[in-house]
């Protein structure tokens, strides 16, 4: 960059001018930072201040600017200069607000501010203005896989928004399980009576919609491409195959019922009178068609006593059955008990439950059933023994703490759970799949290097950031909705489908502009690889949490930029450091590390490097500053996109530069992870577990590098962590590597 023109702007507002010597900082920017242009301003985010910068960009030809003011998370609208590379030095939240306003703290506070400016100048010179991702796609259609209540709702919502939809359904008919229901749980006031499912109208609306192309009896044979340009081969039973180009995909493949034959102790498969909820819906529909009451399946006899067994094969701790609660089944049993009570109040209907869970407004529905005389017994059913045309239901009464039994139940309904239809579990190695009796069938048949279907978290449900981005899967542009994501009822499925549809539309629009999807929404940077240095180690292709990187025939990585979420996990993984972003690379962080002015061994001023995740840890630090929760002046914080992007070279650089300790602050990992890039913090923890050897080689203590899990709410805890670590460093002493760099 021959024509790089750099500028530093130092704000004196918000008390910065009173707390630190900005004239000294300006000198540092000029002499050490080698900035072409340095300006101090009393109130930089004011219209006049912003105009100063804008004028410099226009008239002076500034291409790179560092703003030493507030945190990069603040005043983003005022300091929005899309035509220049911009670095921010956090003097407000990160320095003056995080330090006590006392005379003895003055010197160290000034050092902190000086260093952050040095770091900003260092980073700036290594940055480039992102040119935008050339890997764009222009397909604006949506593919919906699955024609149940989730899929139908998704298709209809997309159409209403003006997008075209291809809806693929495996079976011959639309509607899924919901269409097979006699009635559904009430979903509006007064939540008292079972309601018509409304599926006929929904199906009619979808089939009659000109924007929606419905393909039944069809499965996905192959999915290739990226957001904005997916190519999907659809194979149709007894018909020619189709290829559709779509911009985003919604997987609404729903669930299968748990096989009651796996529950012989509860009479499953042993008697025609022991049925699951789906079968009862069928019986109810048939009976209503004939205008008759529901009859006993074994002999068509009258039903006088019906028992509902909740949590059948669910919430199982033995590992034999489903470990989770499906959430919808208590409501379904309440509804089905009403089928009997409404027809004939003399029928004994008993619901044996452990915890009755009726989410939403189901509590009113529960009350309504109690009013109708449905008996609810808190207990655990131990066995259902068929005897002739009746069954004896033995259970433990959990309130009276004793064994009890219902001697002759004519019908026993087992409330079994939802098993997600999520296709192939890509985490199971192929040799184990080969040993399986029933081979899993892929749903999407993705051509991605990392596997054919969406990654799963636990229990077969598709993985997503449960709190922040529930519909986003680990495959950009592909969204899961409905019970394939988590167990749910019809109301929740429809809501889920609507959310996923809106997300899918965002993905289509972002793909067209070459921008990132969440959480770095709108980011124009993308990973750039210098293939000539690549050693084909495959770490980036294996570790990318989003399956963005494939391999070519020569086993070089092939980046699919629009599948990328810009977390930088590939950059952290790369042992030869050939992967970088224009505005975030090994060099931009390395330059910051090296820019810190390192006091000598005898100064009693240790230096601690904090690599803080920009999603949770960095905001927590900012908020700690806002709350004036002070912390040690010896830390220098560098925000990183994700701990997954931390390359071990930074650790080496920092230790060589003389840092006495390194703290890595990232999100929680594991099954209940909080990492916004799903796998980043887990990978970082794994990589750092290997750092100990390196430290030993350098004859350094293991405590010199620590990682900690931080949540965005840890506003009081983060300063405490820093101070505790500073005390620890004080204890083990200064780094012996100081002064050798």
């Amino acid at each position: 960059m021959a024509d790089m023109k750099t500028a530093a702007y130092i704000c004196k507002g918000c008390g910065i001018g009173e707390r630190v010597d900005t004239a000294q900082m300006a000198k540092i920017a000029t002499k050490e930072g080698k900035m072409h242009l340095v300006r101090e301003h009393d109130f930089l985010c004011s219209a006049a201040g912003v105009q100063t910068i804008a004028d410099d960009i226009e008239k002076e030809g500034v291409t790179h600017a560092v703003i030493a003011a507030c945190s990069r998370r603040a005043k983003t609208e005022a300091f929005y200069f899309p035509s220049v590379a911009l670095a921010r030095a956090n003097i407000r939240e990160g320095v003056i607000w995080a330090r006590p306003d006392t005379e003895e703290a003055r010197e160290t506070t000034q050092e902190m501010a000086d260093d952050y400016l040095r770091m900003g100048c260092g980073e700036l010179k290594k940055m480039k203005l992102p040119a935008g991702n050339p890997d764009t796609g222009h397909a604006k259609r949506l593919l919906v896989v699955g024609g149940g209540v989730s899929g139908l709702t998704a298709a209809l919502e997309a159409s209403k928004t003006g997008y075209q939809v291809v809806l693929v359904e495996k079976s011959a008919k639309l509607g899924g399980w919901s269409a097979g229901l006699y009635r559904r749980m009430p979903f509006r006031e007064p939540y008292a009576e079972p309601q018509d499912t409304g599926m006929d109208e929904l199906i009619k609306a979808v089939t009659g919609d000109a924007n929606i192309k419905v393909i039944t009896n069809a499965v996905i044979a192959r999915t290739d491409g990226a957001p904005g340009r997916f190519k999907v081969d659809i194979s149709v039973e007894s018909g020619p195959s189709l290829t559709e180009e779509v911009g985003a995909i919604i997987q609404a493949t729903g669930f299968s019922t748990y096989d009651i034959a796996k529950l012989p102790e509860l009479g499953g498969g042993k008697s025609a009178n022991v049925i699951d909820q789906v079968t009862l819906e069928k019986l109810a529909t048939e009976a209503a068609g004939k205008g008759q009451p529901i009859r006993r399946p074994s002999d068509g006899g009258e039903v006088k006593t019906v028992v509902f067994v909740q949590c059948a094969g669910q919430r199982d701790e033995s590992g034999k059955h489903l470990a989770y609660c499906s959430g919808f089944c208590c409501g379904a049993s309440i509804k089905q008990a009403m089928y009997f009570k409404d027809a004939n109040p003399a029928i004994d209907t008993v619901v044996i439950y452990d915890d009755l869970r009726v989410p939403g407004n189901g509590e009113d529905f529960y009350r309504s059933a109690q009013r109708k005389g449905v008996t609810f017994t808190k207990g655990k059913v131990s066995s259902v023994v068929p005897q002739g045309n009746a069954c004896e239901v033995k259970f433990r009464d959990l309130i009276l703490d004793e064994d009890a039994a219902i001697a002759a139940a004519d019908l026993v309904v087992l409330a079994t759970g939802q098993v997600p239809n999520s296709g192939v579990n890509i985490d199971i190695p192929e040799e184990e799949v080969a040993k399986m009796e029933v081979k899993p069938v892929s749903i999407l048949n993705l051509t991605y290097r990392q596997g054919k279907d969406l990654p799963q978290l636990t229990q077969g449900f598709t993985d997503s950031h449960f709190i922040c981005f529930p519909y986003e899967t680990r495959r950009t542009g592909i969204y899961s909705a409905g019970p394939v994501r988590r167990p749910m009822d019809m109301v929740q499925a429809a809501e889920d489908a609507t959310g996923a549809t809106l997300k899918a539309i965002q993905a289509i629009e972002n793909a067209e502009l070459g921008r990132a999807a969440h959480p770095r929404s709108g980011d124009l940077s993308y990973p750039i690889v210098q293939l000539e240095g690549c050693t084909q180690c495959k770490r980036c292709t294996v570790e990318c949490p989003f399956g963005a990187i494939d391999e070519d025939e020569k086993r070089y990585p092939v980046f699919n930029e629009s599948r990328c979420r810009r977390c930088g996990t590939c950059m952290g993984a790369c042992p030869v450091r050939v992967i970088s972003f224009e505005n975030y690379s090994c060099d931009t962080v390395g330059a910051q590390i090296k820019a810190v002015d390192m006091p000598d061994e005898f100064s009693e001023k240790p230096r601690i490097l904090v690599l803080a995740c920009e999603n949770d840890a960095y905001p927590a630090l900012d908020m700690a500053g806002m709350e004036k929760n002070c912390y040690s002046a010896f830390v220098r914080v560098i925000p990183v996109r994700c701990l997954g992007s931390v390359n071990t070279i930074w650790i080496t650089d920092a230790l060589n530069a003389g840092f006495d300790g390194i703290m890595m602050m990232g999100c929680k990992h594991g099954d209940d992870y909080q990492c916004h890039f799903v796998k980043g913090s887990e990978l970082a923890a794994y990589r750092m577990s290997k750092v100990d050897d390196t430290l030993k080689q350098l004859s350094l203590e293991a405590e010199r590098v620590v990682s900690c899990e931080v949540a965005i709410t840890d506003i009081a805890r983060v300063p405490q962590l820093i101070n505790d670590y500073a005390a620890k460093i004080n204890e083990i002493g200064m780094s012996p590597l100081k002064g050798f760099a």
Binding site: R367, T375, K378, D397, L400, A404
Partner: protein, 214 residues
Amino acid sequence: MGDLNQQMLDKYRNNFLHEVEEKVDDGEWVKMCMQCGVCAGSCTFGPDWEHTPQKIFMMIRAGKREEVLSSHSMWLCTSCYNCMVRCPRELPITHIMHGLASYAHRLGLAPKNQPTRDFSLIFWENCTKTGRVNELRMTISVYFREGFVSGVKKMWTLRNIGRGLFFAKRLNPLELFVSHGCKDKDGLRRALKKADEIEARRRGYEVQPRGYSS
């Protein structure tokens, strides 16, 4: 009248919940209990109960007629109303407890020598006779409920209070012989009889006098 208990057994057979709904004051609320246990946790008598309200309701649903009606629990209720205030389902628990106690008593299934029940009977008999409570006679009846020696002992323990009451003119020894009463004793009796009739009609009993012993 015949044996009311047998009559009810014949009428309701195994459906005790239905019996409670029809015969017990506020009994129709029992089915609305959701077994959360807040009543049991709130009860001031909690640990001393044989069965908490939660259990009583569960036993009713499970058809444990004998056990419920002969339980001491309902008689221990101090009417503090903690359970009723806290019940998330807004069940009138205190009232149901009293209703069950009263029904058990009517059927002759209430526990024998239950102090609360004995006191209630003594009180009712005492006050309905003249329309006013004869405190001296009532106290003596209660003290001597468990026999002569125990009665004398109790009186001796409380002698100072008795003396105090006497000097404060709150205790008239002559009351032992002559009770003062309300103006229209016959009217009162007629009113009570009428109330009995109304209740009996509502609950479907044959009329039977109050204060019967069991």
